[in-house]
Amino acid sequence: MSYRIRILVAIGGILVFAFIISSIRRSKMMIGDSVFWFLFSLALLIIGIFPEIFFAIARTLHVASASNLAYLFLIGLLLIRIFQQDLKISQLTTKLQRLVQNMAIYQADHSEDRKETDSEHK
């Protein structure tokens, strides 16, 4: 791996780290959700500084080129992440639906009209 790419990867890691920190500072991201991105930025930094690790893994797995392994690794990681996000979006949608339905029913039960009809019945 050439020096340029290594430096680029390391800088990428540092940028991801800075971006996440600034998101947390501006109260835009929950700390629990940021863990993945911290580990990701750390991984980029390590690969940038010590690419030998990647070459060693590529040799043990009999992958011809280390950059192919890097793509495989990144795509796999992103797929897992997308799946987790879809899972979370589904859960959030379900929660939102339940919340809106509960509120709508609550408001219908407690609206002024309802009070009037209730008192007429009494």
Partner: protein, 232 residues
Amino acid sequence: MRTLIAIPAYNEAENIERVIHHLQETLPGYDYVIINDGSTDNTKEICQANHFPMIDQAVNLGLAGTFQCGMKYALYHGYDAVIQFDGDGQHRPEYIPEMEQKIREGADIVIGSRFVTKPKPSSMRMFGSDLIQFFTRVTTGQKIKDPTSGMRMYGKRVIRAMAEQINLAPEPDTISYLMRCGAKVAEVQVEMDERIAGESYLTAWRSVQYMSSVCLSILFIGAFRKRIPLED
């Protein structure tokens, strides 16, 4: 001083009646509120049948969101202190007045600690506690003997922030962060009971996630977070 006992409850049907009756007997006249975290069992119905004061969350938010709801309730009703009290019977109400006393003496956070005068046993679980204790000490210079205790009382200076801001869940990293913002922490020796029925929030895999998130938050993120001013 008005203290609110906030009791987050998720599927505590087997415990809640016993816990609340014991609380009422031990500390009559104290205000308390159960925050039902969208339980799927009949926790809600039991509270209604017994006329326990309850905030009923329509969806499950987890402990952080549920306790924050209690904090908001306390803020809107002008309470001076809030204690997080488990709905499963682990926490004993008789220690609450002693914790209140520490708030009166100027503490912002009082931890019901199992290891002030008693030694900490060594186990896998306590290794996590030791690790968090070490990180808290490195970042704040203060030794918290039981950082993972869930029995904590919060004073007025931290209630508003915790009620309104994100990333201030009632967890050890928040304690460390609030200490960096100038909050004073005190510990009171307490005994805790084993939970009698039901399941804990923490499973093995969740414990690992919890530990990594808390440690990362204390060590790295804490250093970069904006310090918030603590006001009365």
